[in-house]
Amino acid sequence: MNESRGTAIHVSGLTVAYGNNLALDNVRLDVEIGDYMGIIGPNGGGKSTLLKAVMGLTDIMSGEITIMGKSLREGRNLIGYVPQSTEFDRSFPIDVLEVVLTGMLPIGLKPFRRYSEEEIRQAHYLLGSVGIEHLARNHISALSGGEFQKMLIARALAAKPKILLLDEPTASVDASSRAQIYDLLDELNKEVTIILVTHDLLAISSRVRRLACLNNRLIYHGEPELNEDVVTNLYGCPVDLIAHGVPHRVLKEHGGEDGCSC
């Protein structure tokens, strides 16, 4: 699904504030159907806030968001969300299969809703597709960071989304699992539009097809080839780009005392 067939997500004039702090300032962003977009930016730059706004989880001051041409309220069911694995209480009493099944619950509150045999089979299939079917009956505390992230991807897929939003999915996983997750996302991108928030600039350079750089305002929106000025402007500190403009390394003179948060 590499060719564009319309707009998956349209954001215009989006402004979000937490108290007196402007998290997003007049952001405009379009994501085409089939896109694989990376979003980078410093901590506090509004990356996660943008995802929350697109999912309708935060109040917006102004702006418009549409999902597949529908209003946010109608369209957000088309979104699958993969949060950071560090946000979870690993002692919560639930096993891997049950987590995936929660992605199949219907909208609203249906009394006495039990999972059907077909849904359980589908959950096993999804776990197999992300490579952890053998862990289906394990408690979530038994999973590694990478396995946990794959479980969250399977849960997101259980809802049959058209768009997958991932918030730093490789933040707490080892190198081997990181590569597996990116391979998995490449595969999934054949079917779904992907938006990946990350600090992993290697992934930006080698995996995504479009890039958005966010530091409360949208600094850059386009091909994942960056020049030094754009990245310096984004992170607010001197940078050094190597390998033909691909941001394999962005920090040049960051001593940690100049107030920049990269």
């Binding site: 957000r76 209480d89 919560f92 009493p93 929660t102 394990n138 505390s141 038994a142």
Partner: protein, 283 residues
């Protein structure tokens, strides 16, 4: 006289045991949700706000428990609304509601003419004073809460694990938020007669926290917490009968000591088994 003989002979002891068992079941089900959702302090705030209702009931001349229910439910809805809006930090709101409820209770009682009533049974509980009305209230609240939890069990599990994902999926998270707060309010007020406003938090947390050390399933935790809670309540009742001491305090002290004993036993077993025991139990 042995306690068993006394139970067979005295109606008040029969009510005490029946109400105690129901309170244990109710406390277990709500307690597991409170512990997993990290609402322990909010539960404390809601419960203490009920004291204002008790005071108003005495001042205005209606049943103090009705006032307690009204104040606790109002506090639950108010805290829930403010928490969802995210305008203030949760612990600030909890602290304000907590102290306001207690202050109103003291104020209303001080405004009464003549000798003020003894409110120690509301503060510290007195399970031996429960009658048919208290038992009926407890039975009704237990039945309704159990029904709501069972009917939407898979939704509760999804909501407790990750409410953001549940909300994106179109599950009515605001409804579940308010439902939980109101269930906590009515459960805590119903349990006031057993352990009192000040001690009810122990009956909500100790059995649930102890059960979390022993099993990994949400439903199993509720069942085990119910069994442990019943043991704590009946054990506390027996100790208070034998030693002629406060029942509410006996129940709470037994529950807290038992929690630490279970915690220690699990730790020792885990260390001896090289850390494998808990995982084995939990799988």
């Amino acid at each position: 006289m042995l306690m068993l003989e006394a139970v067979l002979q005295y109606r008040f002891l029969q009510y005490a045991i029946a109400t105690g068992i129901l309170a244990s079941v109710l406390g277990a089900v709500i307690g597991v949700i409170v512990v997993e959702k990290r609402l322990v302090m909010m539960s404390g705030g809601i419960t203490h706000t009920a004291y204002g209702g008790v005071g108003l009931g005495y001042l205005a001349g209606f049943e103090p428990m009705i006032g307690a229910f009204a104040f606790a439910i109002a506090a639950a809805l108010g805290m829930g609304y403010i928490k969802r809006k995210g305008t203030f930090k949760s612990d600030v709101i909890i602290g304000l509601f907590w102290s306001l409820g207690m202050a109103l209770g003291v104020l209303f009682i001080s405004m009464m003419k003549g000798y003020p009533p003894d409110l120690s049974s509301y503060l510290f509980g007195n399970i031996l004073s429960v009658g048919l009305t208290d038992f009926t209230i407890m039975a009704l609240v237990t039945a309704v809460v159990l029904l709501i939890v069972v009917i939407f069990f898979n939704y509760w599990k999804a909501y407790l694990f990750d409410d953001k994902f549940a909300e994106i999926r179109g599950i009515s998270v605001p409804v579940m938020d308010y439902l939980i707060f109101v269930m906590i309010a009515v459960s805590a007020v119903a349990m006031i007669r057993v352990t009192g406003i000040i001690l009810v938090i122990a009956l909500l947390t100790a059995p649930a926290a102890a059960a979390s050390l022993l099993t990994a399933g949400l439903g199993k935790r509720m069942v085990i917490a119910g069994i442990l809670g019943t043991f704590f309540t009946m054990g506390g009742l027996w100790v208070s009968y034998m030693l002629d001491i406060s029942t509410g305090a006996s129940i709470v002290i037994l529950a807290v000591i038992s929690y630490f004993l279970i915690w220690s036993a699990v730790r020792i077993l885990a260390v001896n088994a090289g850390g494998r025991v808990r995982n084995k139990w939990m799988s």
